[in-house]
């Protein structure tokens, strides 16, 4: 993953796989993962590129700590 560009950071233990972020992402760079977490959900994963840092996923996510968006500062 290229961390010089914006990217979502997903906490796979807290994600409940509701799919809201997948639907809300304008660039469609999120998808439901294929690996069950310890609680039996399939957490969302970032496809690895294409994030523009709009934070739509963050604001639509119902979990306080399942997802955050990192945006590198320029300069």
């Amino acid at each position: 993953m290229d961390t010089t560009k914006p990217y979502p950071l997903i906490n796979p233990l807290e994600c409940k796989s509701c799919g809201r972020c997948v639907d809300a992402c304008p660039k469609k760079v999120l998808e439901i993962g294929t690996e069950l977490n310890a609680r039996g959900y399939l957490p969302v994963v970032y496809k690895g590129e294409g994030c523009i840092g709009c934070a739509s996923c963050f604001y639509t996510c119902p979990e306080p700590h399942a997802l955050e968006v990192h945006i590198p500062k320029k300069g």
């Binding site: 961390t3 010089t4 906490n11 233990l13 807290e14 409940k16 796989s17 509701c18 799919g19 809201r20 639907d23 809300a24 310890a38 609680r39 959900y41 840092g53 934070a55 739509s56 963050f58 604001y59 639509t60 996510c61 119902p62 979990e63 306080p64 700590h65 399942a66 955050e68 968006v69 990192h70 945006i71 590198p72 500062k73």
Partner: protein, 474 residues
Amino acid sequence: MEEKIIRTQGIYSEFPRKGPSAAPAATHYCPGCGHGIIHKLIAEALADFGIQDKTVMISPVGCAVFAYYYFDAGNIQVAHGRAPAVATGVSRARDCVVISYQGDGDLASIGLNETLQAANRGEKIAVFFVNNTVYGMTGGQMAPTTLIGEKTITCPDGRDPLTQGYPTHMCELISTLKAPVFVERVAVSDIKNIRNARRAIRKAIEIQAEGKGYTFVEILSPCPTNLGKNAVANNEWINTEMVKEFPLGNYRDRTAEAEHVERTTSDFSTESLEKLFELDSIAAPIEHKDPNFKESQVKIAGFGGQGVLSLGTMLTQAAQAVGKQVSWYPSYGPEQRGGTSNCSVIISNDRIGSPVVYHPDLLVAMNRPSLEKFQNDVKPGGIIMYDAIIGDVELPKGVKGVAVPAQDLAIQAGNPRGANTIMLGVMLGLGLTGLPEEAFQTALAANFAKKPKLIPMNLEVLAFAQKWVKENVK
């Protein structure tokens, strides 16, 4: 590389109040629930404005009952529908930001009355009303906001307005009231709506921080579990069906002209209460030693307007004047105007447990219905004073009757409205309550303190009644 991180603020980093959990930072909410989204928006605003430490969050009954697991702010969890009452108390007692977070069952059903009353008083409360059209916590029953035709477990064929009524429109109801400052309906069904909800929530909290008064933000929110839809389908349903019934938009915004609400503070000091209830002007008790004094239980009854209740208070004041323990207990009711009314007075050396008189030592009956209603309750050996105008009576055995022409005597004494004072004078003349003459005179003076010219007039009536007793009662 330096990064800007967009993450949750104002919410605890872990939720130990939830108890041990495989995911210590996960909420108790179902996947796709709207509560978490709204929690994040509110908490972010509190953190951004730096007011977490002066905010009290009122947690409702409903799925958000555990809001105190999450918000890093003050919290009180309250009974079903009672958030506006508790929020009112908090906001009036403390200089702080008060948030009432409630669902549709809590706010629009059991709590509807309190919601409207608090709004109408313009309480300094930010109400966040989460409307998902269903009782979530209890398993999906019909709510006041359930849409027409929407199926729930208690309207399995869909809500029928002919039997279950129509959906309740809270923003519209609230905006009929004058006091609210800001009323808006938003949704968390897509990112555009969420950003708009964020703006409205921040504005409501800002109005609270400025102490400008009542704000009401209704948030259309998904409940995927009880609506039987996945999160994305639930969002689509909000955007297509729910907004038809509950149009999004602003219903009131007088933020610009609203000013900081300053309420006068109540003075509960002993001095001010004594002044208010005129206790500061009570004279020292009259010296009165009577070794034979016995407790008296008195029932006074008559038509409304005959001065029954004030006869009771005068007797009470007479007892008070000699430092007795005394209770006065009026019986109000539909009888108050035109019908019969009564009061009970107990005069004692000892503290009085209950002010209710079941078996009076003395019954004063100003009319026949009162006499008939209470005469059989009088203790054996007790006395019944009744207005002679009643005519022939058949009193129970073992009680003594005294027919007092109270209304006639009052007219003769020059005070046609003084029949009750006549009865008081007869009581004194007969020595029924064991209180001295001076106590009765003090009582009259106290009773008519606001109309001083009536005092001498009533003292004359009192003396007239005593004279009548001496000349007529054996």
